[in-house]
């Protein structure tokens, strides 16, 4: 009896959102106890990253009624994490973040099950990611986001009108923080811009000219980068620098101090050395909390349909005063990652050479001198000569066979287009469908039998 009272009180606030109809809800919203129960039973959510944002996300999602969570992170806990990654204690230092975070949240929030994965995101099969209704990202690198984005958008299929097929849409909610600044965004592949559509949003990393480092250092950071990029190789020929090895870091720090003394530069400290080398920006717990709260709320809204979702990019800036803004970015319709690609129907007998000729005459493409790539294989490369020679023999083979006899797949082509007498280089995604490919396979099987 006591237990059921507790249970009821925990979902009381959530019930107000999930059990009652509303005017701002998504068209698919069907309020009721069934929805609440489904949310707990079926909504499996992946949290990528168990660091500053990841800890917040796991806690927030668990407290928002989600019961099936998984978390993936390749890092181990460090002492410097403890100020904000509140799920970790001093005795956890050295243990995998994913495992400790999962255990702590499960201890605290009854009924939630969190499966930890202590590995790199690339270590998992693509199908691992297919299992989740939504992927929530609490990452700190462009590379990792780009990878997950490619995986999630890879599931997306379009119908013959270039409309995304709903069952293949794998939404992502992406959070990011840097000091006092943060963002939360909702990526619905095929509908809102994917990570790659707006990659230009990320500012390039500041890099100092090597000759400045070598000759005319002016700042503490110059001295540190000198020790890290130039001096290290000079002294440890062949040994790669490991930013996670404290011995290596100490060596760089000591060398940077010497360099700074030589040029009369102040301010080289061990923590600045770590900051410069690992590109660390001081993390602020409250920024993580704010961004995570926004991400969790969007996740709940996306999964349940209980309200309209963020459209589609929220920026938070607490540096001077406080600014929050939502921008509706637009999708790049030709995006190589989330776009539909140009649909082409082909006979199974078409050779690669014939296909390349067809691209030149295709009214939508007018693409000459095409190089063709299918998945991770270069079927034909126009240049340089060494690659042209290696791929030339493919030209006389049927494309259908070169692509492993699948009835439908994506290829990428690069080449030159001419529009209005102007030539421009381009990279296009094509969706190839082979006419009668299923029949051919059947025939093959019949012959085989």
């Amino acid at each position: 009896m006591a237990e059921s009272t507790v249970h009821q009180s925990r979902s009381r606030d959530l019930d107000k959102l999930l059990l009652r109809p509303g005017n701002l809800v998504a068209p698919t919203f069907e309020p009721g106890a069934q929805l609440r129960d489904d949310l707990q039973e079926y909504a499996k959510i992946l949290v990528v990253g168990a660091g500053g944002l990841g800890c917040e996300l796991l806690k927030d999602l668990a407290l928002s009624g989600f019961k099936n969570l998984e978390v993936i992170d390749m890092d181990r806990i460090e002492v410097t994490n403890l100020n904000r990654q509140f799920l970790f204690r001093l005795e956890d230092v050295g243990k995998p973040k994913a495992e400790v975070a999962a255990r702590r949240v499960m201890e605290r929030v009854s009924g939630v099950n969190i499966v930890p994965h202590f590995c790199r995101i690339e270590d998992k099969d693509i199908d691992f990611y297919r299992d989740f209704i939504i992927i929530v990202l609490g990452l700190d690198s462009v590379e990792a986001r780009s990878y997950i984005n490619a995986v999630a958008c890879g599931f997306l299929e379009y119908d013959s009108d270039d409309k995304p097929i709903e069952e293949t849409v794998k939404p992502m909610v992406d959070g990011g923080t840097e000091g006092f600044k943060g963002h939360a965004r909702v990526i619905i592949p095929g509908s809102t811009p994917c990570f790659e559509c707006t990659i230009w949003l990320f500012p390039p990393q500041v890099k100092f000219p090597l000759c400045t480092l070598a000759e005319t250092p002016r700042t503490a950071a110059h001295c540190i980068e000198y020790a890290h990029l130039i001096k290290w190789d000079e002294v440890h020929s062949g040994k790669t620098f490991d930013p996670d090895d404290p011995e290596h870091m100490k060596w760089v720090y000591t060398e940077a101090v010497k360099r700074a003394e030589l040029f009369g530069i102040q301010g080289v400290t061990y923590s600045l050395t770590q900051g410069v080398v690992k590109n660390i920006i001081p993390a602020i717990a409250s920024t993580n909390a704010i961004v995570s709260a926004a991400c969790t709320l969007e996740t709940l809204k996306l999964v349940s349909g209980c309200s309209k979702t963020l459209s589609n990019y929220l920026t938070y800036n607490g540096v001077e005063g406080l600014h929050i803004k939502v921008t509706e970015f637009v999708k790049d319709k030709d995006c190589l990652v989330c776009g539909p690609g140009v649909l082409l129907e082909l006979d199974t007998s078409v050779t690669l050479q014939k296909f390349i000729d067809m691209l030149e005459e295709h009214p939508k493409l007018l693409l000459s001198k095409a190089s063709v790539r299918h998945q991770a294989t270069n079927l034909y490369m126009q240049a340089p000569q060494v690659l042209e020679e290696m791929t030339r023999s493919n030209l006389n083979l049927p494309l259908f066979e070169l692509m492993g006899k699948v009835p439908r797949d994506i290829v990428h082509v690069t080449g030159t287009t001419s529009r209005d007498d102007k030539k421009a280089s381009c990279l296009r995604k094509l969706c190839l469908v082979f006419k009668g490919a299923d029949a051919v396979t059947d025939q093959d099987m019949a012959v085989g039998a």
């Binding site: 698919t28 069907e30 489904d38 949310l39 079926y42 909504a43 099969d125 693509i126 199908d127 297919r130 299992d131 209704i133 462009v142 590379e143 780009s146 990878y147 490619a150 995986v151 890879g154 709903e166 069952e167 790659e196 990659i199 230009w200 390039p204 990393q205 890099k207 100092f208 000219p209 090597l210 000759c211 070598a214 000759e215 990029l229 130039i230 190789d233 000079e234 020929s237 999964v303 349940s304 349909g305 190589l336 990652v337 190089s371 790539r373 998945q375 991770a376 294989t377 270069n378 490369m381 126009q382 240049a383 340089p384 060494v386 690659l387 791929t391 690069t414 080449g415 280089s425 990279l427």
Partner: protein, 183 residues
Amino acid sequence: MIRLFKVKEKQRELAENANGGVPIKKQTAGELRVNKDISELNLPSSCTMTFPNGKDNLMNFEVSIRPDEGYYLGGTFLFSFQVSPIYPHEAPKVKCKTKVYHPNIDLEGNVCLNILREDWKPVLSINTIIYGLYHLFTEPNWEDPLNHDAAAVLRDNPKMFESNVRRALSGGYVGQTFFQRCI
């Protein structure tokens, strides 16, 4: 959306029973862009490329440059390129694998070329970088030195710089440093 997911769950089970599921390596947008850059290369005959990991891995490759004018005429210089998956958001990492007496390349093979670091832009390409490297050999520049000694000699005594370069190229000592023959 949740109802949809229940349907999906069933479909997935069916699909799982149907095929064996061959894991496919995900390609990154960076790989596609490198492919484009490489298929569009327009190099002078003095520059050639090799792909040590075969025709399908274009993220690591080597470029050899054989200047046909200037101080370094006749030498062959090998550069390794390492391209990150977020290319062109980030410049490739380029190292000179041939030990060379050059004001803008140090003895560890670090190269001081602005477009490889502070001036990199995603609109630049592999082609631009190779031309940039070629340019370093035709117009070595003492104002951005990585090899301080070589830069000072070039600035103060170009004749001596020239003879030092010739000695290094044919294999020999310049000061305390030995250079392998690369002609």
